[in-house]
Amino acid sequence: MGRELTFEIFRYNPAQPDIEPRMQTYTLEETPSMTLFIALNKIREEQDPTLQFDFCCRAGICGSCGMVINGVPGLACHTQTKDLPDKITLHPLPVFKLLGDLSVDTGVWFRNVGGKIESWIHTKKKFDPEAQEERMDNALANQIFELDRCVECGCCVAACGTARMREDFIGATAINRLARFYIDPRDNRDAADFYDLIGDDNGVFGCMGLLACDNVCPKQIPLHDQLGIMRRMATVESVKAIIPDFIRKKLTGCKSVKA
């Protein structure tokens, strides 16, 4: 016999606004190696087919199942019940539009933010099918991939006090995404271009250094280090007119290949 787990789950269906948001309790016997993916599916299939939540890859790769687990945002699929107390409280991720119970619309949010920061390689070159690929240092390729690892689960945004208060803040994930292009030599944008995209209080200056993004990231991406690099870049860019160039260059201190 495993433990008896009590799940307190947030319930609200925007399509049925007459039913108030509420917490609903379910109990379930714990089985070995149980994850929240298994537990929630069991509840839906055996107890309450109306319970809404999102899973996709169930292997911590796709980022679908971000939710607030006992107060802390995380991926449900790689959260094991054995690491949790007998009582497990689940809420949907805040900030994102609620679609029903634990399901939120991260897709549209990330698409909008991707558009805002123009999350693609800006180049005037045309692809030549006959030509050999452009060379790149392997260390740089690895560095780019490290920043590209973000699965856009939204946990960092949900954990961010700024994002909670100010809905236009683009969040650590977007700034990290831009940092990926900042170091990519294939992208022709320079510091001034990046500054135009994120050099305001909705962008990198909105960050108050609360660090929760870093602490909850399920992929352990050093988000705040990237925020720091981008903030320095943007700050130095912002004081272009008032600080002499030779000092400015020293202040940047981050390794952009394009610099």
Binding site: S33, P49, F55, R58, I61, L99, G114, P129, D148
Partner: protein, 620 residues
């Protein structure tokens, strides 16, 4: 009902769907992608390994050519593939990789000088050429003569998918996520789009398109144990099958992987066994040497999978709340090895299973991994039977994989086929005009509505019960080891389930908006039909070829079975109608021995000169 109009409609926004969308959008056409999840959550993102392309930059891939790649692919397919398509693929793969590099994929690159690599768990030194420094590197994968798999660390699918999705953003391609396609709009000759159910609102919406693409990935979820994502339920294949005119090709060709973990079916790499990991049974006894004295755990994927199943059937499996399984033991490899060389395995075990592989055994079982079959298309990606319907990626049977696909070939297929099919769609649109038949739209919508209404009135089983029984049936009777008796039982059981599904009921009544149970309920009958295509196709195919292994017909029979199964479903039938076509229009590589896997071959008639074509003849 909301109606959307577009030139190209992509069902699915994984790698194949997005690659096609990008190609069409670049040519100036209006494209809409439908996806049940936000595009970046597509299962393509989970592919870790890499993409095969004969770039030949790395020292271990030195001298590689598309022709060698082609040969590996055909051998891998156990001669079940279309050789024209396999050549098209091999020729275009290097260009596709370079194009991805141009778009921003951070491929790992050649580091000149001496590097340490691993083969069979043993390290060795190799010196990369300095003139290749910074070009796309490649790693080793099973069944290949050269190291040819391009990769970005352990997240190739993720990196390429995000890059393509960035490109989509740049081109302004519309993506409608949380949309589940339920039926194709067609008049028996021409496909005109789809009826989709909005998973946010529960409403039906019509998408009218001049070209419709099915790129919805595999259908692994018809099996209980599958490495596929929960969305890989064959939705696209079901809509094609439901037309009654579009055939699904080689549905019986299903690939299993020996070491999926229990309970969540996440793969642990073959590297575990390569490096010396062993398989143990309920008594913690190492059983593989009893079956395969020479190779033991290192026999090929399908052989190990079969032996594991056989052993569990003898009652030697470990009982668990999630079904029987066996143990993978890597404890003797030591902490250092496990946390460095097998770090990924260590992470999966600790994070998802709560098992520490340094001190504990890992629960594993053979797990469904890939579906070689799918919507049968010609080399242009145009589906048989319906004009204006295309398919690409795992959802399609383009057919470069035949009866067994090589690691790294499927991921490469998505972008290579995506590019080719995208171009062909553009060509198709250029010379095409379409009259929308409103009655066809109405009919399709009515059909879906009728299904939803019927579910509300149903009094029989709920969808989860039926789905679980289907999955159990597939595991038990249409799994790795197949024989006539079991397959017949499987077919019978599935037919019974299909009958029961007609009276399926919803347990959560009257739920508005997002409704997970209804989404599943709408899928289950279609999934059972797909399962029947697999089971019935397997029953009829009285030979063993690639992943299709019949105990009662252990030989590969080139005399009678060098052909592809085509399954269509006539309305009201309880079984698919099977037809057959030649596996390949011509032979570049005549049937022969694969060089691994063993097994007897019943040779077919000699390949004539007229059927032979030299590789050089380019077609790209």
């Amino acid at each position: 009902m909301q109606v959307h109009y577009t030139d190209v409609l992509c069902m699915g926004a994984g790698l194949a769907g997005e690659r096609v969308a990008v190609e069409a959008a670049q040519a100036g056409y209006n494209v809409i992608c439908l996806s049940v999840v936000p595009p970046r959550r597509s299962h393509s993102s989970a592919a870790q390994g890499g993409m095969q392309a004969a770039l030949g930059n790395s020292i271990m891939g030195d001298g590689d050519t598309p022709e060698i790649h082609f040969n590996d692919t055909v051998k891998g397919s156990d001669w079940g593939c279309d050789q024209e398509v396999a050549r098209l693929f091999a020729n275009n793969a290097p260009i596709a990789m370079r194009e991805m590099a141009y778009l921003g994929v951070p491929w790992n690159r050649v580091e000149p000088g001496e590097n340490t690599y691993f083969k069979g768990g043993k390290p060795f030194q190799a010196t990369e050429k300095s003139e290749n420094a910074g070009l796309i590197h490649s790693r080793a994968f099973g069944g290949t003569a050269k190291w040819r798999t391009c990769y970005t660390s352990d997240g190739t699918g993720h990196a390429v998918l995000f890059t393509l999705d960035n490109r989509m953003l740049q081109l302004g391609v519309e993506v409608h996520d949380r949309m589940q396609a339920e039926a194709l709009i067609h008049d028996g000759e021409r496909c005109m789009g789809v009826i989709a159910r909005n998973l946010r609102t529960g409403e039906l919406e019509a998408y009218i398109a001049r070209a419709t693409l099915i790129a919805t990935g595999g259908f692994g979820r018809i099996y209980k144990a599958t490495t596929n994502a929960v969305i890989c339920d064959g939705g696209g294949q079901i809509t094609a099958l439901d037309t009654g005119v579009v055939p699904l090709g080689n549905m019986e060709a299903v690939q299993f992987h020996p070491t999926g973990t229990v309970p969540t079916d996440i793969l642990v790499t073959e590297g575990c066994r390569g490096d010396g990991g062993t398989l143990l049974d309920v008594d913690e006894y190492r059983f593989m040497p009893d079956y395969e004295p020479e190779k033991a755990e290192l026999a090929s994927r399908d052989v190990v999978s079969r032996r594991m199943t056989e052993h569990m059937r003898k009652g030697k499996g470990v009982k668990s709340p999630y079904g029987d399984h066996l143990w993978l033991d890597i404890r003797h490899l030591g902490e250092k090895h496990i946390t460095t060389n097998l770090r990924e395995v260590y992470d999966i075990c600790t994070r998802f299973l709560g098992v520490n592989p340094i001190h504990q055994l890992i629960p594993v079982r053979p797990t469904q991994h890939y579906s070689m079959g799918g919507v049968r298309v010609n080399k242009d990606g145009h589906a048989y039977g319906l004009k204006g319907l295309f398919a690409a990626g795992e959802a399609a049977c383009w057919d470069m994989h035949g009866f067994n696909r090589l690691g790294g070939n499927s991921l490469a297929e998505t972008v290579v086929a995506g590019g080719i099919v995208g171009k062909k769609i553009v060509e198709f649109l250029e010379g095409d005009s379409m009259t929308v038949r409103t009655d066809a739209v109405e009919d399709a919508a009515k059909g879906v509505r009728a299904r939803i209404d019927k579910l509300a009135k149903g009094t029989g089983d709920d969808c989860y019960t039926l789905r679980n029984e289907m999955q159990d049936t597939m595991m038990e009777y249409v799994g790795i080891f197949r024989n006539g008796k079991d397959l017949q039982t499987g077919v019978d059981k599935l037919r019974e389930l299909l009958e029961r599904s007609k009276n399926m009921r919803l347990t959560g009544k009257g739920l508005k908006g997002q409704n997970g149970e209804l989404s599943m309920a709408l899928r289950v009958p279609g999934m059972i039909r797909l399962a029947l295509c697999v089971a019935y196709g397997a029953l009829q195919r009285t030979e063993s070829r690639g992943a299709h292994a019949r105990e009662d017909y252990p030989e590969r029979n080139d005399r009678d079975w060098l052909k592809r199964t085509l399954a269509t479903w006539k309305e009201g039938d309880s079984l698919p109608t099977l037809n057959y076509e030649d596996a390949t229009p011509f032979f570049i590589l005549p049937p022969g021995d694969r060089g691994y896997g063993g097994g007897k071959i019943i040779p077919g008639k000699e390949v004539t000169e007229a059927e032979r074509v030299p590789y050089e003849k380019t077609d790209a």
